[in-house]
């Protein structure tokens, strides 16, 4: 698609190639009062793509609570911003890079990290942590090892090189992702609350400055690709995949932060999906102004690039900014110091139009408002989801908990992820006080007593079985993970990964999940401050499981009050906080026995969630706990084993007739924690729990080299460790395709 405006007739085929429906085209013509030329059509197609316009999702996203006294900036900017006191602010966001990662796992994942880092530092924040949520297909699906290896290496290579620690994330395997893996990346940054930079162009006549890598023919139509369903031929179509350049990103980061210490920058936005088009249109729209660009001034990497290509290129590591008139030299000096390409490519106007010239001729002249603020919005038909799931089958009465536990800990979804996170530099910046492998990661706010707790969560099998409950659970689990280290959960970002919104049942999943998330956010005072929607995650009509990924940030006012999941010493009392009904529906235990997910997911009682969590956090604050871990996938016994392995300290657990049986040990009831304390305070804690309406009971005592159940069943830590640690390396060592 390389041509000059006017040279290509805008036929129905050309319109369709741009992913625009005939009605959408009519709308364009109506909005601008004439037929667009090809450049203009390209600009509309990316701005009105699902990725940029949220045309199918916006209606439902309005349900999210987005305000709280500590929210400085909610959705609508490059990233969300929250206040953590003392003039400090946290800036964070999550984004998907699913399709590129399936086609070229290393570069696709790497550039995903690059993109989300830019979203955060464009707001004036220094990135201090990365997380990533990965969903792969079945372990034996074609190419899956290759995808795992490439994605993990790509994420590591980018974050490690830029020097931002990758401190957490998720990784699970499920056949619904066989043809459509998910790579969601999250960045958390730190800024001064009064030094946040926004993408709102202002100041008529101010120069528009381009900085970063030169523009090539990368990923043209990438944003449209992210909104188009995969089919088996898409590998042959070979859309250009971008190659990441983390070194230039690091220079860009340092240069922007250096320039942001002055008052030269008026507005700034990264050139992400849809590159120069979306950055210029969105900056103009937010500022209520116009922008005039001279595309001949854009630094290009390749010969004979057309205006169409320059406007739509998705070359990485580029930023667009509006700077104060007369301050060009200062900006240029900083960018030259960091050896970056820089050029003044336009200026702010009062026309409300985006106008581009090339070699003196006008190649594009459009009103900003319909582009950025008036995309078509759809109220897509949707059907409420009520899956008729087979109930949990009658499970064999068994007293052999040990073998079941070993099998679970050695399964793809519960095995240790060390193979992944050891490839990420999780310690650079020297503030990571809780490394990967526990609940939330904890990163100090440099030079203060404060720390941030970070976690990324979602349980797609719950979301598939019952979208609304699954949506609630994703938020609740994230909140619980932050609570389990002692942090006060403050806000979330999200990445909503679904199949095609043009299918009512997928829309039903979407609506259900968003509704459940919104309920949980409201009940837990945990607003949504940023996020991303990724639709059309399906191949040949097979959609992924609904995956509304949640990324949460919590605050520890005093980092040294944090607790870890590891049993700290022998002779601590082990307490179970939260009610256990023994819910085996959708549990990993039942899946292991039944061979697939069965039954309905555990109910999420948001009031209990909040009561139990607040109680546990209070204990941690008061330094009354020695360890704490939330109970999630795999249930109570898996959580106990994880604590024992992390601390290399065993435990003796007593059961009673009421607690015996797999439902108690492997059920995935929500709102639960395991906590340890010195024995002297156990009784008082239980009494206080009782008084606060928080179910709690004493399970046993730490110590020894085994997990002992009832004095009968004895599972050695050695065996548990072998099961837990061996699956991932063994799986990856068979890398052959």
């Amino acid at each position: 698609m390389t041509t000059s405006p006017g040279a290509t007739a805008i036929t129905p085929a050309v319109i369709a190639q741009h992913g625009l429906k005939p009605e959408e085209y009519d709308r364009i013509v109506a909005a601008i009062g004439r037929a667009p030329n090809l450049v203009e059509l390209g600009v509309f197609s990316v701005m009105w793509s699902e990725h940029c316009s949220y045309k199918s999702s916006k209606k439902w996203l309005r349900q999210f609570p987005t305000a709280a006294p500590w929210v400085i900036c909610g959705p609508g900017e490059n990233a969300g911003v929250i206040d953590i006191g003392d003039g400090d602010a946290v800036v964070f966001k999550m984004e998907s890079h699913n399709h590129p990662s399936f086609i070229e796992p290393f570069q696709g994942a790497a550039t995903g990290v690059g993109g989300i880092l830019r979203d955060v530092f464009t707001m004036g924040a220094r990135p201090i942590a990365n997380l990533n949520a990965l969903r792969f297909g079945a372990q034996d699906a074609p190419k899956m090892r290759h995808l795992v290896a490439g994605v993990v290496a790509g994420i590591g290579s980018y974050g490690n090189c830029v020097g931002v620690p990758t401190v957490g994330g998720e990784c699970t395997f499920d056949p619904s992702y066989n043809g459509n893996i998910l790579v969601n990346a999250m960045t958390v940054g730190l800024a001064r609350a009064d030094r946040i930079f926004y993408a709102r162009a202002a100041g008529i006549g101010n120069p528009v400055v381009y900085v970063g890598s030169k523009t090539g023919r990368d990923g043209i139509h990438g944003a449209t690709m992210a909104s188009a369903e995969f089919d088996d031929k898409s590998e042959e179509k070979r859309p250009t995949v971008q190659v990441g350049d983390p070194f230039t990103e690091k220079l860009l980061l340092e240069a922007c932060i250096e320039l942001m210490a002055t008052d030269v920058i008026v507005a700034i936005q990264d050139m992400g999906a849809a590159g120069l088009t979306s950055s210029s249109c969105e900056m103009a729209a937010r500022g209520g102004v116009g922008i005039e660009l001279d595309l001949s001034a854009v630094p290009t990497r390749e010969r004979a690039m057309t205006p169409y290509e320059i406007m739509l290129s998705e070359s990485q590591e580029r930023m667009l900014m509006v700077i104060a008139k007369g301050r060009e030299a200062e900006a240029e000096a900083v960018f030259r110091k960091w050896e970056l390409d820089v050029a003044v490519i336009g200026r702010v106007t009062d026309t409300g139009r985006i106008v581009a010239t090339f070699d003196g001729a006008t190649v594009l002249d459009l009103p900003v408002e319909p582009l950025a603020d008036k995309p078509p919005l759809y109220d897509r038909p949707w059907t409420p989801i009520a899956r008729n799931r087979p109930p949990v089958p009658a499970l064999p009465e068994t007293s052999a908990l040990g073998p079941a536990l070993l099998a679970l800990l050695g399964s793809p979804d519960l095995s240790a992820r060390r193979w992944i996170w050891e490839q990420y530099d999780h310690m650079v910046m020297a503030d990571t006080v809780a490394r990967p492998g526990g609940d939330a990661a904890v990163v100090r706010v440099h030079g203060t007593r404060k720390a941030l707790a970070l976690s990324s969560d979602c349980t797609p099998r719950y979301c598939y079985a019952d979208p609304e409950m699954g949506g609630r659970q994703a938020v609740a689990e994230c909140w619980r993970n932050l609570t389990a280290v002692g942090a006060k959960p403050l806000a979330i970002t999200d990445c909503l990964n679904f199949g095609s919104p043009e299918r009512p049942e997928i829309m039903g999943e979407f609506v259900g999940c968003v509704t459940g998330m919104a309920e949980a956010c409201r009940a837990l005072d945990f607003p949504v401050v940023s996020g991303n929607v990724s639709l059309y995650n399906e191949t040949s009509g097979v959609a992924i499981k609904p995956t509304p990924q949640v990324g949460g940030v919590g605050l520890l006012a005093e980092a040294n009050r944090m607790v870890r999941a590891a049993f700290r010493a022998a002779n601590d009392a082990i307490l179970l906080v939260g009610a256990t009904a023994g819910h085996l529906g959708c549990s990993l235990y039942a899946r292991n026995l039944a061979g697939s997910d069965v039954g309905q997911p555990p109910p999420v009682d948001l009031a209990a969630e909040r009561r139990n969590g607040d109680f546990v956090r209070g204990l941690i604050h008061a330094r009354r706990l020695t360890a704490c871990h939330d109970i999630a996938d795999g249930g109570l016994l898996v959580a106990l084993a994880e604590m024992a392995l992390a601390g290399d300290v065993g435990a003796a657990i007593g059961t009673s007739p009421a607690t015996a049986g797999p439902a108690f040990w492997f059920g995935e009831d929500q709102a639960r924690y395991i906590a340890t304390c010195v024995p002297a305070v156990a009784a008082a804690i239980l009494a206080e729990a009782h008084a606060a309406g928080v179910p709690a009971l004493r399970l046993g005592i730490t110590g020894g080299n085994d997990l002992t159940l009832d004095g009968v069943e004895r599972i050695s830590l050695h065996d548990l460790r072998a099961a837990h640690e061996s699956w991932f390396p063994a799986y990856m060592s068979a890398l052959s395709d």
Binding site: R238, D245, R301
Partner: protein, 81 residues
């Protein structure tokens, strides 16, 4: 037999390493450098003596493992045994 394989980025694919090398060479005082591209060079020693079969097999290796056709081209040369 020896197979010599060159794996290079397709035209138009951004090559940050090549660009960095060009900058570094300029910094060292070398002039007249228009562009630098970096690729991989792989040598494989193969048993057997059927050159055509070897070429087929090595091309298959390239397609399956050694190159990613989304962004890379490859060239295979087989030395006479």
């Amino acid at each position: 037999m020896k197979a010599r394989i060159h794996v290079t980025f397709k035209a138009g694919v951004h090559d940050p390493q090549g660009k960095a090398i060009a900058n570094a060479l300029q910094g060292l005082g070398f002039s007249g450098i228009d562009a630098v591209r970096q690729g991989k060079y792989i040598e494989i020693d193969l048993a057997g003596s059927d050159r055509a079969a070897a070429e087929r097999s090595v091309k298959d290796m390239c397609a399956k493992l050694l190159a990613n056709p989304v962004i890379e081209n490859y060239r295979v040369d087989i030395d006479a045994p």
